[in-house]
C-alpha cells in the first residue's frame, strides 16, 4: 500500500524523504486553512450581534461552567442547585454530563496561567468553533484510514468543516454538549479503526480513553456503545474474527466501561441498562469465538469442531436468553425512553409527550437532509458503494455506520448530527475517487497494465467468497475489469470543471444556510426596517434584566420549561421547571396552572410560592414561537397527569379548530395563559380592532380580566410579559370580590394595600 500511494503521490512531488516532508507540510497548511475556514464560517452571529450564548440549553451549560470556575471542581461535582425546580431542587452535579464544562474550565485556567485573563463567557462562546476545527482534523484522520487516496482525507476535512449539518449545532455561542461531542465521536471512531487495523492495545486504550471522555460529554455516547459491538459482531458473522479484533474489542470494552462508570450520571448503567447490553453480549461472544479458534488450532478433528461450533451457538443463545430474562425480571433496566422511542416511533407521542413536544425530536423530512448536506447527500451512497469494492474491516464499519446513522437521522432531526461525519467521509471518498481519475495528467497508452488499487483481487476477498468465485462474481460487477484511465483531455477537463463548479456551489450553499438559518442567537431577534437596516429586538434580555435588577434574589418565577434555563442564566432567579425535564409531574403542574381557570391556578401557584409568572407573547410582533402556540403541549402534558381536570378536547372548538378569537372555547378563554397573553392587549388598538398578528385573528372586543395576578412588567414589543402573583387579600375576601369592590369605589385603601405588598417582597 505504502508503495502505491507514494507512487500516485510522487506524480506531483519529489521522490523519497524530502517528498514526504513536502507533502506533510502541504497537508499541514491545508488542514490549518480548513480549520480556519471552519472556525470563520461559524462566527456570523458574533459579527452580526455580539459574543452571546445562544438559545436555551447553552445558558444552563454556561451557568454550570461559571459555577465550576468559581467554586472549583469538587464543589461542582456535588452541586445541589436549589434555584431550579423549586421547591424540589436538582442534584445538578450528579445529573449532568460534565465533559463540556470541565473542558472549558481547563481552557480557562490554562489561559490564566499564560496571563491571558479571557472572560469565561468568550471561552464558552468560542468553544464550539474551536472544536469544529479539531473535528475537521479528526475527520481527515478517519478518512485517511479508509482509503489510499491522499486527497480523500483533505476533502472530508473540508466537507466536515463547512457542512451545515454540523454547523447547525456548533456556531459560536451554541455552547452545547454536541460542541465537543462530535469531535470526540469522530476521533473515537478513528482510534477504533486504528486499533482494529493494527490490533494494538495502545490504540484500543486510547479509544477507550476518548470513549470515556465522550461519555462524560454527551448522552449520545450510546451510539458508540452500540455501533462498535455491532461492527465486531458483523465482522464475526462474516467469518473475519481475528486476534486483532479480539485484542482491540476486549481492551476497549474493559477500559471503556470502567471509564464510563466514573461519570456519576452514568454510574452503573453500563451493566444495568439494556442500552449497553449489546456491548456486553458481543464481549462474551468474542470470548467464546476466541476460545473455539484456539481450540481449533489445537485439535484438528472435524467433528469436534462442528461440536464446538454448536456449543458456541448454544452458549450464546443461552446467555442471550439469560439477558432477556434479567431484563424482564427488571434487574436490568429496559430501554430508556428517549432511546426506545428511536425504535418504536409511535412510543414517544403516546407515552412521553415531553420528548415528543421538542421540535428537534421530530422526524426529518427530505428537504432537511438536502438543506444540511446539499450535494453530499447524493455523493454519500456512491461512497458507500465504493466501500464494497475492497471490503476490508474498516469499510464494513463505514457501511454499518451509514445505514444506522441514516435511519436515526430519519427518525429524529437532531440525530442528523451523527449522520453528518459519515456522510462527509463517504462523499469525500467518492469525490476523491473521481478527481484522482480525472486529474491524472498523462494519457494511458492502449492496453496499459492495470493499476493495482483498481484490481479487487489484489486485496484478497474473504475465503468464503473465494470458494464461490465461480458461482457468483465475488466482487462488484462494476470493477471486474482493470482500470485503464481516461484518454481524452476534453473529458478530463469537462468533468474536473463540472465537479469544481459543484464544489463551489456547495460552498455557497453552506455559507448561505449558515448565515440565514443557523446564526440567530434566538435570544436576540433581528428584524429588517423598511430602509433595509437591521433592527435588533431585545425583549428577552430587557425582561430578564428587569427581573434581575428589580425583583428579590429569591423571587420564584414560573414559566413554561423552555425558558427555565434562560431565566436561571440571565435573570438569575429561581424557577419551577426548566429544560432539564427530569420531573414530568412538576412540569405537568405548571402546565395545569397555565391551562386552568384562575380559581384553580391560584392555589397551585401559592403552594409553589410563585412570585412572578413569565410568559412569551408574539401577538403584537408576529413572533410565532410564543406560548399560545406551545399551549397545546402544556395542555397535553397536564392531561397526562390529570386527565379529568385538563382535557385537550376542551381547547378545540366544536369544529376541531384551535382558535383565540370570539369563537375560542370558554375553557380557552378562561385559561390563565390566554388571559395573561391578551390582558390589556386591546387597549393598544382602537376599540374592537385588536389583532393577533401570529394567529391572524381578530380578538374579542372585551379583553380578559385578571383578578389573582397583576401585570408587573411588559417588554417593549410585548414579547415577554411578567405578572406578579397577588398576596392573599388582607380582608380575607376572594380576589374576585376584592376586584369587584375596587371597581365599585376606588379609595386610597387600594394604594395602601399595594404599598404593603411592595414592602412585603422579602
Amino acid at each position: 500500500m505504502a508503495a502505491i500511494s507514494q507512487g500516485t503521490g510522487s506524480k506531483f512531488f519529489f521522490e523519497g524523504e524530502s517528498g514526504r516532508n513536502t507533502r506533510g507540510l502541504l497537508r499541514l497548511i491545508i488542514l490549518v486553512t480548513i480549520a480556519a475556514a471552519a472556525v470563520a464560517s461559524r462566527l456570523f452571529s458574533v459579527i452580526r450581534f455580539e459574543s452571546i450564548i445562544h438559545e436555551f440549553d447553552p445558558w444552563f451549560n454556561f451557568r454550570a461552567t461559571k459555577y465550576l470556575v468559581n467554586n472549583g471542581f469538587y464543589n461542582f461535582w456535588d452541586w445541589f442547585d436549589d434555584r431550579t425546580w423549586h421547591p424540589l431542587g436538582r442534584v445538578t452535579g450528579g445529573t449532568l454530563y460534565p465533559g463540556l464544562m470541565v473542558t472549558s474550565g481547563i481552557i480557562y485556567h490554562v489561559l490564566r496561567l499564560l496571563s491571558m485573563p479571557i472572560d469565561i463567557r468568550n471561552i464558552c462562546v468560542l468553544l464550539a468553533p474551536a472544536f469544529s476545527g479539531l473535528t475537521a482534523f479528526a475527520t481527515y484522520l478517519l478518512t485517511s484510514e479508509m482509503t489510499t487516496s491522499p486527497s480523500a482525507g483533505l476533502l472530508a476535512a473540508a466537507f466536515m468543516g463547512i457542512t451545515p449539518g454540523y454547523i447547525s449545532r456548533s456556531v459560536a455561542g451554541s455552547y452545547d454538549n454536541e460542541a465537543i461531542a462530535i469531535f470526540l465521536l469522530v476521533f473515537t471512531f478513528y482510534l477504533w479503526i486504528k486499533a482494529v487495523k493494527e490490533g494494538s492495545i495502545m490504540w484500543a486504550g486510547f479509544c477507550a480513553l476518548f470513549y470515556g471522555y465522550m461519555v462524560s460529554a454527551w448522552g449520545g455516547y450510546v451510539f458508540i456503545t452500540n455501533l462498535l459491538p455491532l461492527h465486531a459482531f458483523v465482522l464475526i458473522c462474516m467469518g473475519r474474527f481475528s486476534p486483532r479484533l479480539y485484542v482491540s474489542y476486549t481492551t476497549w470494552y474493559a477500559l471503556g466501561t470502567l471509564a464510563s462508570m466514573q461519570v456519576p450520571f452514568v454510574g452503573f448503567l453500563p451493566v444495568r441498562s439494556s442500552d449497553h447490553m449489546a456491548a456486553l453480549g458481543v464481549f462474551g461472544l468474542l470470548q467464546l469465538v476466541g476460545f473455539t479458534e484456539w481450540v481449533r488450532t489445537q485439535l484438528p478433528s472435524k467433528q469436534f469442531q462442528t461440536l464446538l461450533r454448536g456449543l458456541v451457538l448454544v452458549v450464546f443463545a443461552a446467555a442471550f436468553g439469560f439477558l432477556v430474562l434479567l431484563t424482564v425480571s427488571g434487574t436490568i433496566a429496559p430501554w430508556s425512553g428517549r432511546f426506545y422511542s428511536l425504535w418504536d416511533t409511535a412510543y414517544a407521542k403516546v407515552h412521553i409527550p415531553i420528548i415528543a413536544s421538542v421540535s428537534e425530536h421530530q422526524p426529518t423530512a427530505w428537504p432537511a437532509f438536502f438543506f444540511d448536506l446539499n450535494m453530499l447527500i447524493w455523493l454519500f451512497p456512491a461512497g458507500v458503494y465504493m466501500c464494497f469494492r475492497t471490503l476490508k474491516d474498516e469499510h464494513v464499519f463505514i457501511v454499518i455506520y451509514s445505514v444506522l446513522a441514516s435511519y436515526f437521522a430519519g427518525v429524529m432531526v437532531r440525530l442528523m448530527l451523527t449522520l453528518t461525519p459519515i456522510v462527509c467521509v463517504a462523499a469525500a471518498m467518492a469525490l476523491s475517487n473521481i478527481l484522482d481519475i480525472f486529474l491524472v495528467a498523462e494519457q494511458p497508452v492502449e492496453g496499459a497494465q492495470p493499476q493495482a488499487n483498481g484490481n479487487p483481487r489484489a486485496n484478497g476477498p474473504t475465503t468464503a467468497t473465494e470458494k464461490l468465485a465461480s458461482a457468483i462474481p465475488d466482487t462488484l460487477r462494476s470493477t471486474k475489469t482493470p482500470v485503464v484511465g481516461i484518454y481524452s483531455y476534453l473529458s478530463k477537463s469537462a468533468m474536473t470543471g463540472a465537479f469544481t463548479a459543484y464544489l463551489l456551489l456547495f460552498v455557497l450553499h453552506c455559507t448561505w444556510v449558515t448565515s440565514n438559518a443557523y446564526s440567530s442567537p434566538s435570544v436576540v431577534l433581528a428584524s429588517r426596517l423598511p430602509d433595509g437596516s437591521q433592527h435588533i429586538i431585545d425583549d428577552y434580555r430587557e425582561a430578564y434584566y428587569w427581573l434581575r435588577q428589580n425583583t428579590h434574589q429569591t423571587a420564584k418565577v414560573m414559566s413554561w420549561w423552555d425558558y427555565g434555563y434562560q431565566i436561571g442564566g440571565m435573570a438569575d432567579r429561581p424557577t419551577l421547571v426548566d429544560n432539564n425535564t427530569w420531573n414530568n409531574t412538576h412540569i405537568a403542574t405548571v402546565g395545569k396552572a397555565m391551562s386552568s381557570r384562575e380559581e384553580v391556578s391560584y392555589p397551585i401557584m401559592r403552594q409553589h410560592e410563585v412570585d412572578y409568572v413569565l410568559i412569551v407573547f408574539g401577538g403584537l410582533l408576529g413572533y410565532s414561537g410564543d406560548d399560545i402556540n406551545k399551549f397545546l403541549w402544556m395542555v397535553r402534558i397536564a392531561e397526562g397527569i390529570w386527565p379529568d381536570e385538563v382535557k385537550e378536547r376542551d381547547f378545540f372548538t366544536a369544529r376541531g379548530e384551535y382558535r383565540v378569537d370570539e369563537e375560542a372555547t370558554p375553557t380557552m378563554k378562561n385559561s390563565l395563559m390566554y388571559k395573561m397573553s391578551y390582558y390589556n392587549y386591546n387597549a393598544l388598538f382602537p376599540a374592537g380592532q385588536a389583532q393577533d398578528r401570529v394567529r391572524g385573528a381578530k380578538l374579542p372586543a372585551q379583553g380578559p380580566e385578571l383578578s389573582t395576578l397583576e401585570e408587573a412588567f411588559t417588554s417593549e414589543n410585548w414579547i415577554i410579559r411578567i405578572y406578579k402573583v397577588k398576596d392573599l387579600d388582607n380582608l380575607g375576601r376572594s380576589h374576585q370580590e376584592a376586584g369587584a369592590f375596587e371597581k365599585g369605589n376606588k379609595r386610597k385603601k387600594s394604594g395602601k394595600r399595594r404599598g404593603a405588598r411592595v414592602l412585603r417582597v422579602d
Binding site: 416511533t345 423530512a365 437521522a409 483498481g454 462488484l476
Partner: protein
Amino acid sequence: MRIPGILAAALLPLTALAAKKSTGDRFNDYHSKQVSTLASIKIDDVSYGEMTKAPRDYAVAVLLTALDARFGCALCHEFQPEWELLAKSWTKGDKKGESRLVYATLDFADGKQTFQSVGKRTLSSPVLLVFQPTVGPNAKPDGAPNRFDFVTGTDKAEPIHAWISRHLPDSPHPPLVRPINYVKYAVTTTAVLGGVTFLSVAWPYLLPVIQNRNLWAAISLITILLFTSGHMFNHIRKVPYVAGDGKGGLSYFASGFQNQFGLETQIVAAMYGILAFATISLALKVPRMTDPRAQQIAVFVWGGIILGMYSFLLSVFRIKNGGYPFFLPPF
C-alpha cells in the same frame, strides 16, 4: 313507565324502591341480552333515549361511532373490535350484573339526532359516553355524561377499561381478558420450524447469495436512499401518498419545508439514486473502458445526467424552500 319515573323524580327518597322495581327490569333485559350475545347492544336514536333516560339505577357506556365506509373513520374501524372485546370480557366478568353497566354501540347511520344532541359533528373519531346511574346505591347527581374523545389516537381496549373503571369507582371492574390467538401461535411455530428446515436444506445454495457483495451493496444502498429521502417521516406522520392541487390536477410536491408526500419522497430517492449511480459509473466504470471514443461518450452522458439531475433537484428544492437563491442550468 313514565308516571313512576316522574314520581321518582319528584319524591325520590320515598319511591326509591318503586323506582328500582320499575327500572330494574330495564337493566335486567339489557343485561340478559348482553350476556346472551356477549357483545355490546346495537341501539338507535329511540333505544338510546330509552336506555339513557333518568331515572336509572345502572350505568351505560355508549360508543358513538361511524362504521359506514362512507364516513371513512379509520379510528372507528380500528377501535370497534377492541370495544367488542371490552364489552365481551366485561359481561363475562360479571354475569350477575353486579357492576350494573350496559355496553351499547350507536352507529351514526341509525343515530344522527343523537350525534347532533351530543354536539359531535366530525366523524373522524368515535366518542365514548358513560352515563352514571341516577338512583340506587352508587348514584351520581345526573349531570352530563362523562365523555371520552379519541383525540390522542388510543385504539386499545386497556386504557378505555381503565377510564371506565375510574368513572365507576365503587362497582366491581371485571378484568379485561384478551383471548389467546391459538391460530397465530400455531402459524408462527410452523413458520419458524419450516424456515429452519428450509435454511438447513438450502444453506449450501443460499450461502453464496448471502455472501454476495452486490446483494449487500444493493440492500444497504436502498436502505440508505430510503431513509435519507425522508421515508421515516412518512411512516411516522402518516402523510398522504399524493394530494391533488386545487385545480383538479395532482401536486407531486407538498408546499412547505416541513411536510412532504409519499410519492415526493420516492421521486427524490430516485433522483438521489440516479445521481449516485452516475457518480459510481464515472468513478468506476468509465476508467475501465478500453475504447477511447466510447469512454468519451460515456463521460459526457454520465456528466450530463449528473448536471441535469442535480439542477432538477435544486429546482425541486426551490419549490420547498422559497428563499433558496441557488440554481443550476438548465432547470
